[in-house]
Every structure is written in C-alpha cells, then in structure tokens.
C-alpha cells in the first residue's frame, strides 16, 4: 500500500494550487485525478479571474472592499462575509503570484495585466488572457507542479473516502489504465473534485463532472451545504450548451430577442447585459418562455458591432466554438444562445481553510462550500476561489501538522477496499434490466425541467418523486460488462448512484426553501425572506435519507438590503 503525507484528489486549479502550497512547505504530497491535470474542467473557464488591481481605465477606485461588497450583494447576502473578505483581500496577491509563475495574461498598453468588466461588478476587475484564462492558468499551475516534481496519479478515480471515528484515513481508488483497485493511506486528504454539472441537462460542464467527490464526502458523513443553489449561465450555445463566456458581454455584446430588442432594458436597465448571472439567466429564460425567442428556442448574443479585430483578439475561442459547433461566424452573424447549468454554489461544508467536520479531510474549489458565492456566484470569482482557497488549504495542512505523520491504519483501509470490491462485484453481476444511460438521461431531463431556473413547489414535488423512482430503478441495473480496464460502463454506473442521491438533496433543499434568493427562484415564493431563510442549508447522509438542518450566515460588514441593480 502506497502512502503520502498529503493526498490531493483532483488536478484542476484548486487541487494543484493546494499541492503546490504543500510542496513548498517541504511536505510529501501527491495529486490523484480522474483525468490528467491539463484535462481538468478548469481549462474550460474562459472569461477571467477577479482582483481589484485597478489596471483598467475606470478601475482606479476599485478596492478589496468594493470587490467584497459586489460579491456579497451578488450572493444575495447568503455568502459568509468573513470568508468573502478573505477572498477579496488575498485576490491581488494570488494574481501576482500566478503572473510571476508565468501565467500569460493579456496586457494593457502599459504592460500591466489587462482587466475587463464583468456582470454584477462595479469596476472592471476581471483579469484575463483573451478568452482562455482558465486553460492558461491551468497550464501554468501544471508547469509549476512539474517544477516541484509533485507526484501525480493521473487517471485514478477515487471510489471511496475512508473515515473512521471522525478521522480521515485515506482513499480507495481505481486505476483506469490497469483496472487495479488500491488503497492509499494519508495523513490528510483534500478533495478538489469539482462540480456536478452532469446531473443536469443542458450543462456546460465536462463529461466527467459528475460531482463524485461530493458524493464520497457525503457518504463518509461530511455535510453538504446550500446544494439547492445551482448556477445557470445565461449564454450557452444552442444545442451543444458549450459556454459562451460572460466576457462576450463584458466586451460589449448585446442580447437580442426576436423583436430585435435589447431586452435587458426591461430587467436591469442600468447594467443591461452586465447584470449578475442569476438575473440575466432569468431574463433570457423569460423571453424564451414568453415566446420572444427565435424558432430554435434561442435568443441572440450579438457581437457584430465589436468588429472582427476585437473579436479575434479578445474572444478567439468563442469564435472558434461557434464555427465548430454551429457553423456560425460571430463576426458576421449573431450567436443563438440559451441558459445552461454551469456551476454549483453549494458543496462540501468547510471553513475558510477548507477544514471539514472530519479531521484530516479538507475540501476546496467547486466541490467545496466555504460560502463565498452564497446564492449566486459572480463571473470571475470561481477561478479566484480555486487559487485563494487552494493556497490556504495547503498552508493550513502544513501548519496544522495534520499532514505531518501518517500512521496508516492498514486494516481499516483494507476493509474499505473490500467493501468497494463487493460493490463492484454487485455491479458486474446485476440481474436487472435498467440501462444506466437511460436513467442518466431521465435524471438530466428531470433536473433541468423541474428544478431549473424557475421553480415551483408542485413541480419540485414531481421532480422528487421522479428522482425517488430513479433511485429505485438504480437498484435494478443490468449487469455491467467488460473487464476492469478503462471501463466507462463501470465508472458511469458507479457514479450514477451518487448523482441520484445528490439530485435528491438538491430537490429537497429547493422544496424546503420557501423563498427566492439568487439562483434559487420559486414562482410560488417570489420574494427573499430574510426572517425565515437567511441561513445555510445543511444536509447529512443518514440511512433513512438525507437529514436537513440549518446554520446561520456570517454577516459582518454589510447588513442584508434589497438587492437592487
């Protein structure tokens, strides 16, 4: 059995930033990831990363306080303000650090890091590298991980988080290239496993973003937080739901309905296309629902007036995605878009240093919820979240010394491996006739149609009974086929159970929350209700089903006020 002082699960931005912090403290660290780090979903982030550097014209008066306030207001006051404060205070420093490590940001004429306006932000504070920011930061951190010779376990998939008596012992993982099942003992485990987009239909997320990390943590007894808050990105390509970055609007793009109107004037006239994501997504969906859309069910994102030079320079990837996916050149024609599932505000409950209820187990990035995004994340804050809190988690582990000495509990790990082995054998010997791909398709349709942008108590109840039905059918899967090596049938079937259980948690949380806040919008409770609902939803796994409780929001500087733009 291999062992490491610290094991990071997930090789995206949050995972690698944490690993680098641990390595820099001279500790033994390894990164385990379902895909090679440069294939992580972080590479799909396009528009940029927020920090109040004041490099752009009109950005001189920006400050960490303004950034924090925009974030809190964007969150519809559900974010924990002490944690938001940490993020915006540390933002500039982590950006300069990334730049010093080689991140190829776009530049202002003076040679400084270029910044552009983004939704819900008072100043242009989104640092960018054309529309490839996530990808270029990802490669930068991968390069830095090579510099530190950080041990990688690529194409290893964690199948169980092993916790005994409130103490994290390690993981059981499956090596896709060989089919081998192995235990790994560690002093500390950090989950940086990303979001669950694939639970939803019309998602911008990578195919492997099933949120399995959240599932393993949940089953190991760690609470999940605010799971009903699901972000829908306003603009995804019609059909494929490939992301069209908010930067397209930040650079000046218009949203147009079938009457040729810039309809955002009817929703947030001051900010127009640069409203926060929840508001713009609802506006677009309203236009679509009320028939002011085009025949394919889209509205138009029009960039033509920006001109070819600006589009090629600032939005090359948007252009190539349009050309590849739709055969449309945005220089000449408007882009047909619709909202799509994009991000999970909720996740594994943790504090500002990624610590969870389980000693030695940490969470960071999209899978985590220290609560900086609250009920609605602002564009450009997710990349920032990954690097700020990645660094903090790494440092915390090395300070706390939990990564210091691992005294591997071999027996407990072997028992856990035995349980996983038994579970896999069950999958291979299933005698039912339910098709995993069919269940997944029905799940995705249920979530997007019944627990999407607009929600309603009666419809959410339908969603819940459908999810319950799917959970029942999941117990009657057909036998999984093939050998153990690179077996998608097996990994997808094993993921599916967790996806169904998390869908249940999302729907139940949404049903319970009788108010509208940020991305959670109830047609039957259209107002925000701070008296009853200014609190975080907590959910813990129990044999009889998910157990819900609530926890107060940290309000420090900014009293909740009507969220008006």
């Amino acid at each position: 059995m291999e062992s490491h002082q610290v094991l990071i699960v997930g090789g995206g931005l949050a995972g690698l930033r944490a690993a680098i912090a641990v390595a820099d403290a001279g500790r033994d660290v390894a990164v385990m990831s379902q895909v090679h780090p440069v294939r992580s979903h972080s590479v799909a982030a396009q528009g940029g990363i927020n920090a109040p550097l004041g490099n752009a014209e009109g950005g001189k008066d920006d400050s960490w306080e303004r950034h924090a306030y925009d974030t809190v207001r964007g969150s519809d006051f559900l974010a924990d303000q002490d944690v938001v404060e940490v993020m915006s205070r540390e933002a500039a420093e982590v950006i300069y650090e990334l730049e010093g490590w080689g991140a190829p940001f776009s530049r202002t004429p003076e040679g400084r890091i270029a910044q552009r306006p983004f939704g819900g932000a008072e100043f242009p504070r989104t640092c960018y590298a054309a529309d490839k920011t996530g990808r270029l930061l990802m490669h930068t951190l991968y390069e830095q991980s090579m510099r530190r010779r950080i041990r990688l376990y690529p194409e290893w998939m964690v199948l169980s988080l092993v916790v005994e008596n409130g103490l994290c012992l390690g993981v059981v993982a499956y090596h896709m290239l060989t089919g081998e099942l192995a235990c790994l003992a560690t002093g500390s485990v950090v989950f940086a496993t990303g979001g669950y987009g694939q639970i939803y239909g019309r998602s911008t997320n990578s195919q492997f973003n099933t949120g399995s990390g959240m599932a393993h943590a949940y089953y190991a007894g760690v609470p999940l937080k605010d799971m009903e808050f699901v972000q829908f990105h306003p603009t995804t390509l019609i059909g494929s739901n490939i992301l069209v970055t908010e930067a397209a609007r930040g650079e000046g793009g218009y949203l147009i309905n079938n009457k040729g109107e810039r309809f955002m004037k009817d929703y947030v006239p001051k900010l127009m296309e640069l409203g926060p994501r929840d508001i713009v997504a609802r506006a677009i969906q309203t236009e679509i629902n009320e028939g002011r859309c085009f025949d394919d069910g889209s509205v138009y994102l029009d960039l033509r007036h920006l001109g070819e030079k600006k589009i090629v320079e600032r939005l090359p990837e948007v252009r190539s995605n349009c050309l590849h996916s739709l055969g449309i050149d945005p220089v000449k024609r408007p882009i047909p878009v619709q909202p799509g599932q994009h991000y999970s505000m909720g996740g594994i409950d943790c504090n500002v240093d990624g610590e969870t209820l389980v000693k030695g187990f940490y969470a960071v990035g999209e899978c985590a919820c220290a609560s900086v995004h609250g009920a609605n994340r602002l564009g450009g804050n997710s990349l920032l979240d990954t690097v700020v809190f990645g660094r903090r988690v790494g440092r915390k582990i090395t300070e706390a010394g939990t990564g210091e000495s691992s005294s591997p509990n071999g027996k407990a790990l072997e028992r856990a491996k035995g349980r996983v082995e038994g579970w896999l054998k069950e999958l291979f010997s299933g005698s039912g006739d339910e098709e995993p791909a069919q269940l997944r398709a029905e799940l995705k349709e249920t979530t997007i149609e019944k627990c999407g942008i607009f929600r309603d108590g009666a419809v959410l109840k339908e969603a819940l009974s459908k999810v319950t039905e799917l959970q029942g059918r999941y117990k009657k899967l057909r036998a999984i086929r093939g050998g153990r090596k690179f077996n998608h049938d097996m990994t997808r079937a094993s993921d599916l159970g967790g996806m169904l259980d998390r869908a249940e948690v999302i729907v139940r949380g949404a049903l319970a929350r009788e108010e509208s806040r940020g991305a959670h919008y109830r047609m039957d409770f259209k107002a925000r209700d701070d008296v009853r609902w200014l609190k975080h939803t907590m959910v813990q796994h129990a044999l009889e089903g998910p157990r819900f409780s609530y926890k107060p929001v940290a309000v420090t500087r900014w009293k909740p006020e009507v969220r008006k733009y």
Partner: protein
C-alpha cells in the same frame, strides 16, 4: 432533430492483454445536425457497445483528451463534425505510433515525460514593483501561438522522427521550451537551450511540417523549433 444522414463508424478495437490483434467494429449512426465524431462515439458507448474505451472531457476543443486518427487525419473528435466528413464510412483510430492501452486510449505517459524534460516553467526574478512583471502587448504576442498548446499529443504522434527515435523530445516538448525561451519575463533561456541542444533535441527535427499541418490549435511547432535552433546558432557565433 432532423437526421441528416447515416454513417458507419469503423472503430478501432484492441486490448493488447486480451486480443490477438486489433480489429475495426462497425456501428451505424444517425447523424443529427451538429453531431461530432465524439458524440457519435458516446452514442456507441451509451447504446451500442458499453465496452468501448476512449478519452473525452470538455467536448469543446480545450482539454486535449480526444485526439484521434479520423479518416486518415489527426483530429480532436469533439471538433470534427460527422456531417462534414465525406463518404458513408468514417474510420476512427487511436493516435498512431503510440502504445495502445485499450481501443482508442493510448499511453500518454512517455509524451508527458518528454514535456517535463525541457524545464517547462517560467524562471523569473521577482517583479521590482512587488506586483506584476511588465510585459508589453507586443512581447506577449510573441508567445500567443505557443501558449495555445493543449498537450493533446497530436503533433508528437504525427512526427516521423518520433516514430523511429523514441528519445526524441518531439514537437510539443520543444514548443513548450520555446514558449519560455521566448517569454520576456524568463531568465533561464540558456539552461533551457542547453537542454534541447542535442541530437534528440532540436537537431532531430527534419522540418517535415507534419506537426504544423496536424495541430488542431493551428500552432506551428516546426517554426518554434527553428527559432530555438537560430538562438543556439547565434549564441555560438557570439561566443566565438
């Protein structure tokens, strides 16, 4: 959705630990508008043959997972529209000249090892301002092309020099070296140039340009290699 046409995907199948040799399996696919080769393969995985092995992730051409050999060309499966391919049969194979693990999945480990050999990271002094290093848009534009590399392995697989010399660093690793040598912030060009100044470094390239032709991100690695050679030669002339 309107079905545009039917195609037969001829998909390479091989598990070296189980099969005597490789074969192609045929799958008939109803092609809908906008459907990519990757979507066709995922449809096979979902409905027709659950045992198919392939890599996939972002489905938008930025993660580099689904590099394959499609109808005799190096392609990203997610960036290849089925409708646009000529003929009723579409041949899909793994990246040539790389060891097959299973079906369309090849062993990328030797490729990534080579990338790691060229000091593929920035070595910079601390910025005097305590903020960012200044870099003009012109300086930044020099590395525009090189930073676009997604490490998909296509250029490496397409290069005839890598086919016969397993130790050759190859076009991707050398482009990575160039990316840092050409970065105005970097201070370790000499060390990096020394690492690529060898028979299995820049001098192995025979300017066949396969890499430039194959790259799905329109990068020209041959050009990058030529630049590294020029720097090496002019460095030698200066030191004379």
């Amino acid at each position: 959705m309107v079905i545009e046409k039917k195609v037969i995907l001829e998909v390479f199948r091989f598990d070296p630990e189980v099969d005597k040799g490789p074969r192609y399996d045929s799958f008939t696919i109803d092609v809908k508008k906008g459907m990519t080769v990757l979507e066709g393969l995922l449809h096979i995985l979902d409905v027709q043959d659950h045992s198919l092995a392939l890599r996939f992730a972002c489905r938008e051409g930025v993660c580099g997972s689904c590099a394959m050999f499609i109808n005799g060309s190096y392609r990203l499966a997610c960036q290849t529209q089925l409708e646009a391919l000529k003929g009723r049969r579409v041949w899909v194979g793994p990246l040539p000249h790389m060891p097959v693990i299973k079906d369309l999945v090849v062993d990328m480990r030797p490729f990534f090892e080579k990338v790691g050999l060229v000091m593929p990271w920035l070595e910079a002094l601390s910025a005097p301002s305590g903020k960012e290093h200044l870099q003009s848009p012109q300086q930044r534009s020099i590395i525009n092309e090189a930073v676009d590399c997604i490490l998909c392995g296509i250029c490496h697989s397409s290069c005839p020099m890598t086919w016969t010399k397993k130790d050759y660093l190859g076009p991707a690793a050398l482009t990575k070296a160039y990316r840092f040598v050409a970065d105005s912030r970097d201070v370790a060009a000499a060390n990096r140039l020394a690492l690529v100044n060898s028979e299995d470094g820049v001098w192995r390239c025979r300017t066949v340009f396969n890499c430039a032709e194959a790259c799905p991100k329109n990068i020209n690695p041959t050009d990058a290699i030529e630049s590294l050679r020029r720097k090496l030669v002019s460095g030698r002339r200066k030191s004379r």
